[in-house]
């Protein structure tokens, strides 16, 4: 085929795929999610430029309800709530991303190994991972966070412990079915090494589901992080953190300080919603008819 024709053909089919994606309900869902995520990412990156005040020092009277100078009001120490919510997206996204990366870095290789090798190793790993998976995630994270103590990495590790089994399960189950596909047989027949088969033939085929699990886990990780810091097991104050701000706001709830709990809470909801819509839409688009029953 002529090169220009080839390029034209390629761009047309990509265009068609995109149009189809955006017309479908799941595509719209994923797109809405992506827009929300981009807004939060920008807010986190440019927090210094956008925030009107330093989030950790007094910038007005304490307990001001929302007004033109402090659009989200101020907290009990006179700190600007809008700036705190804005900076809070940094910690939330940072910890969630690190946590999910650690979980994937542990869960994916173990899943590949377990599914490909099979046998007693597989059975033992499945048993362990299933046990951890069945345990209430937040409570496990609380236990780990309690012994590790505060700090970004420690909290990320506590959350990662909860989600590593998710990757393990997804990858392991796919690998053990891919293992018996013809192209793997063929690769074996031409004498490919096990490592080559795993990395070149198996891994690329399981990656799409990793993307879906990844963005679903980010939503959960943000929830768990907020929960941990609400319980006092998160980042040490005065670093702006939504969960901490919520527990701080709750202390004054009888004084009707609704703005101190409303805005950090809404921030969590919208960000988690962004991740959920994105992963849900993507999942439905990639595997229609799957996931309905779960």
């Amino acid at each position: 085929m002529d090169r220009t024709v080839e390029v034209k053909f390629l761009s047309a089919s990509i265009g068609r795929a995109f149009r189809k994606f955006f017309r479908s309900g799941s595509g719209k869902m994923a797109f809405t999610g992506a827009v929300i995520l981009i807004i939060f990412l920008l807010a986190a990156v440019f927090a210094e430029q956008i925030a009107p005040y330093d989030p950790t020092v007094r910038s007005g009277k304490a307990f001001l309800s929302p007004n033109s100078e402090h659009i989200f009001g101020t907290d009990n120490l006179g700190r600007d709530m809008f700036s705190r919510v804005l900076y809070g997206s940094r910690i939330a996204l940072l910890i969630a991303f690190i946590a999910v990366l650690i979980a994937a870095a542990v869960g994916i290789p173990l899943g590949l190994l377990s599914g490909y090798v099979g046998g007693p190793l597989d059975r033992v790993l499945v048993l362990i991972m299933d046990a951890v998976y069945s345990f209430p995630g937040l409570i496990l994270a609380i236990a780990v966070a309690a012994v590790l103590g505060t700090g970004v990495i420690n909290i990320a590790v506590s959350i990662a412990v909860v989600y590593a089994p998710t990757y393990f399960r997804v990858i392991r189950n796919q690998v053990s079915s891919i293992k018996s596909e013809l192209y793997v047989e063929a690769a074996k027949a031409i004498g490919a090494k096990n490592w080559t088969i795993l990395l070149r033939y198996v891994l690329p085929n399981v990656l799409p589901s990793v993307v879906v699990v990844l963005s679903m886990n980010l939503a959960d990780a943000i929830m768990v992080e907020a929960g941990l810091s609400f319980l006092g097991l998160g980042i040490a104050p005065p670093t702006p953190d939504w969960g901490y701000d919520l527990s701080n706001g709750q202390r004054f709830i009888l004084m009707n300080d609704w703005w101190m709990i409303m805005f950090p809470g809404l921030a969590i909801i919208v960000l988690v919603l962004g991740f959920s819509l994105f992963s849900e839409g993507l999942n439905e688009y990639l595997n229609p008819n799957v996931g309905e029953r779960e």
């Binding site: 046990a131 929960g227 319980l231 919520l246 709830i253 969590i268």
Partner: protein, 335 residues
């Protein structure tokens, strides 16, 4: 396989699971942190005092011996003593357990009612606005932190409307006679209406909060399985025989959809208990969740370990119960 053999097999299968969970808890609580005594007494305590305490708790023994003793004591129902109050941890947890059970049962019932009605009705009206509302609801409520929802309820119903109390289980001196420790239940059993009303008033906000957040998964599960169930031949057959639509949906279709729902339900119970920890903290509900958090603040790691072990045992027990109920409903599972 008879139901009896199934039950025995299922319980035997749970043994390695329990052992693994207990080992995970041991590794987290004893191997990672180093020394609970040092954290409890602080770095400034004299060496002799630390050594004595360590010896008393058996922490000077090799880790593998400690592990053996930990399992042996658990088997005997001994979770050790609280480093702080010196009371047996099992007793302290026993005092707290009814509050958690009361809250989770009520939350579970609320979630189940919302899940079944909204899920079933959405499936009946598949691909309509009502169906969409169920999907939007379940995605939205999944994104709401349970403690934030609790605070909003405290603000609206406690502070603004002043209808309901925002903390605790019952006003002082109104506790009903102790039977199960679940105040509402005990008060109803002893016909103590004043206590029952107060217990209910305190229970409403926490249990509705927990129930709403958990209902997300329920609505989604019921809807998905009902869509499948309603499209099957036996539903057509039932309609053709002139059975009333309500009976077709709720008796024939729902019954068949319940089996996969129950299976997934076993896993969702973990979500219920995790949500309960946050709900308890939000509403100062004196259950195991608040116990766990308090003990973490006091660095009483023996008690923290005990609380986590109890959660593990509860979750495993409930998953066995769910499986047995499933096998009873659907004999096919036993084979």
């Amino acid at each position: 396989m008879s139901l009896k053999t199934y039950i025995i097999a299922r319980i035997l299968l749970a043994v390695p699971m329990v052992l693994i969970l207990l080992t995970v808890v041991f590794v987290i609580m004893r191997v990672i942190p180093g020394d609970p005594v040092l954290t409890l007494l602080g770095g400034k305590a004299p060496i002799e005092v630390i050594e004595a305490k360590r010896h008393e708790l058996g922490l000077d023994k090799p880790i593998i011996v400690q592990y053996g003793e930990y399992l042996l004591n658990l088997f005997k129902g001994d979770l050790g003593k609280s480093l702080l109050t010196e009371r047996p941890i099992i007793e302290e947890l026993g005092d707290r357990l009814p509050a958690t059970v009361e809250l989770t049962i009520m939350g579970f019932i609320i979630a189940l009612v919302i899940g079944i009605f909204w899920g079933v009705e959405a499936a009946r009206r598949h691909d309509t606005a009502f169906d969409l509302s169920a999907r939007v609801y379940s995605i939205f409520i999944y994104s709401v932190p349970v403690f934030w929802l609790g605070m909003v309820f405290q603000l609206v119903f406690g502070v603004w409307l002043k209808w309901l109390p925002v903390a605790g289980r019952i006003p002082p001196l109104m506790e009903p006679k102790h039977i199960t420790g679940m105040y509402l239940f005990d008060a109803l059993l002893t016909a103590n209406w004043d206590s029952a009303r107060e217990a209910l008033r305190h229970l409403i906000l926490p249990s509705v909060t927990l129930g709403l957040v958990i209902s997300s998964v329920f609505v989604r599960m019921v809807r998905g399985n009902m869509v499948l169930s309603l499209s099957q031949d036996f539903v057509k057959a039932a309609r053709a025989r002139g059975i009333k639509e309500r009976a077709v949906v709720y008796r024939h279709a729902l019954k068949n959809a319940m089996v996969p729902i129950m299976t997934v339900l076993g896993l969702q119970l973990a979500l219920l208990f995790a949500g309960a920890v946050l709900t308890e903290t939000t509403f100062s509900w004196p259950g195991i969740g608040t116990y766990l958090i308090q003990k973490i603040r006091y660095r009483d790691f023996m008690a923290v370990q005990g609380a986590i072990v109890i959660y593990a045992l509860i979750v495993v027990t409930l998953s066995i119960v769910v499986d047995i109920v499933n096998a009873w409903i659907d004999p096919r599972i036993r084979y």
